[in-house]
């Protein structure tokens, strides 16, 4: 994936280099600006079995800060925030590849360096007995659960 473009970042940002599960890396910029979850909405996206985004709804586009055509065809890790521990996503992939549903709190990185918190579910799309892809449905988390997740992930990230 391409590095983030500093020109799209709103305000002061910290620079991080993310290393993904496949060994590739990407330079990202992170601000402290949180975009509140849009009340009442479900944020939906789908991927193929390799985690490449194939479909998403307008709420997904709006929250990410990207345009629809910047998202389709990209790895879902385009939204990965450096505050998220790799172990959370390892657990996600282990669970869904085993044919089960995963639920968890996720902090996502926006195109502008800001973030948004979601309570996410990922479900394998089982068609004719095979996993044809994955669907993720996110909903609004409570403030208390966001704070608890933030603390837990910070602990997991401590070297």
């Amino acid at each position: 994936m391409q590095d983030m473009d500093r020109a799209h970042i709103a305000g002061d940002a910290a620079e991080h280099v993310l290393t993904y599960a496949d060994g590739t890396s990407r330079r990202v910029y992170v601000t402290s600006i949180e975009t509140p979850y849009p009340h009442g909405k479900l944020i939906v996206s789908r991927t193929n079995t390799a985690g490449i985004i194939t479909q998403c709804n307008q709420s997904f586009v709006d929250m990410s800060g990207y345009a629809m055509d910047e998202l389709i065809g990209q790895p879902h890790s385009i939204l990965r925030h450096p505050a998220m521990p790799a172990a959370a996503f390892r657990d996600l992939w282990d669970t869904v590849q085993a044919g089960r549903q995963w639920h968890g709190y996720v902090k996502n990185l926006r195109k502008d360096g800001g973030h948004y918190w979601v309570y996410a579910a990922v479900v394998p799309n089982i068609r004719d007995g095979n996993i044809a892809g994955y669907t993720s449905v996110r909903r609004e988390p409570s403030r208390v659960n966001i704070e608890a997740s933030e603390a837990r992930y910070a602990e997991m990230n401590r070297p």
Binding site: Y37, P38, H39, G40, K41, L42, V44, R46, N57, S59, Q101, H103, Y119, A121, V122, V123, N125, R127, T135, V137, R139, E140, P141, S142, R143, V144, N145
Partner: protein, 248 residues
């Protein structure tokens, strides 16, 4: 022998006669004996489904999961019209301005509509409210749900947007919407069971062309839709996957 048709009990009562008119039209157009059986509540309709007494159904999205995945029903069409969204309402003079202001012990009035209740429960999650720290009052109708709030017997209520809009302006004036769902893809669907699979394509053709005649438009309007749109089996499978994440 006639085939049994039923409609998800979530539609407003005023539309009962319109569904009978639709059924008569369906029978004539298909030259098929079809019996319309309407159930008062979701429990009764589920019992009929379990007993194999349903061959064709305008299904609630939550029942569509069971019908498609376990009973071999096939998706034919979906109504185009106002989306199937719901609202969480409170009394106009309630101190709560948004969902996060609700507190444990909140009394909630609702009916037995599984779709409205599941989506409603999700909309309460930002306040950390669940079945363990709320008191649920099940009522038979949406009017009763609204009246409970007006009488101060419930703090909030779950209503489909269509039911909320059909309340009298007097009742609506004393209620306030805390949040409206925007789930988009979760919709009612018209399904045919295994006994009617052979006629599935005929039924689909008939429904999809319904808005091409003025009589068809009038019937659709009475049912709260503008047309029937095609659905692929994958559209329904996708909806079912989404719903499965909401019920766990």
């Amino acid at each position: 022998m006639s085939f049994n048709f039923t409609v998800s009990p979530s539609f407003p009562n005023e539309r009962i006669s319109d569904w009978y008119i639709f059924n008569t039209w369906l029978q004539r157009s298909l030259s098929l004996p079809i019996h319309l059986e309407l159930y008062d509540n979701f429990g009764a309709q589920r019992a009929a489904i379990a007993a194999g007494k349903v061959d064709m159904i305008h299904a609630n999205p939550f029942d569509a999961s069971l019908l498609v995945r376990e009973k071999g029903f096939r998706a034919i069409a979906r109504p185009e019209g106002p989306p199937d969204e719901m609202v969480v309402v409170t009394a106009a003079d309630s101190p709560a301005q948004g969902i996060p202001d609700l507190t444990p012990g909140t009394r909630l009035a609702c009916t037995d509509d599984p779709c409205v209740n599941t989506v409603g429960r999700i909309l309460l999650e930002p306040a950390n409210l669940d079945t363990g720290n709320t008191v649920e009052h099940r009522r038979d109708t949406y009017i009763q749900v609204a009246k409970e709030i007006l009488r101060g017997e419930a703090d909030i209520g779950f209503l489909p947007v269509v039911a909320f809009k059909s309340l009298s302006s007097l009742v609506r004036r004393d209620l306030r919407v805390l949040v409206t769902s925007d789930a988009q893809v979760i919709q009612h669907v018209f399904l045919v069971g295994p006994a009617l699979h052979e006629r599935g394509d005929d039924i689909a053709r008939l429904l999809l062309a319904m808005h091409e005649t003025s009589k068809g438009i009038a019937m659709l309007e009475a049912l709260g839709a503008t047309s029937w749109q095609p659905v692929q089996q994958e559209d329904v499978e996708f909806m079912i996957d989404i719903i499965s994440t909401l019920t766990q």
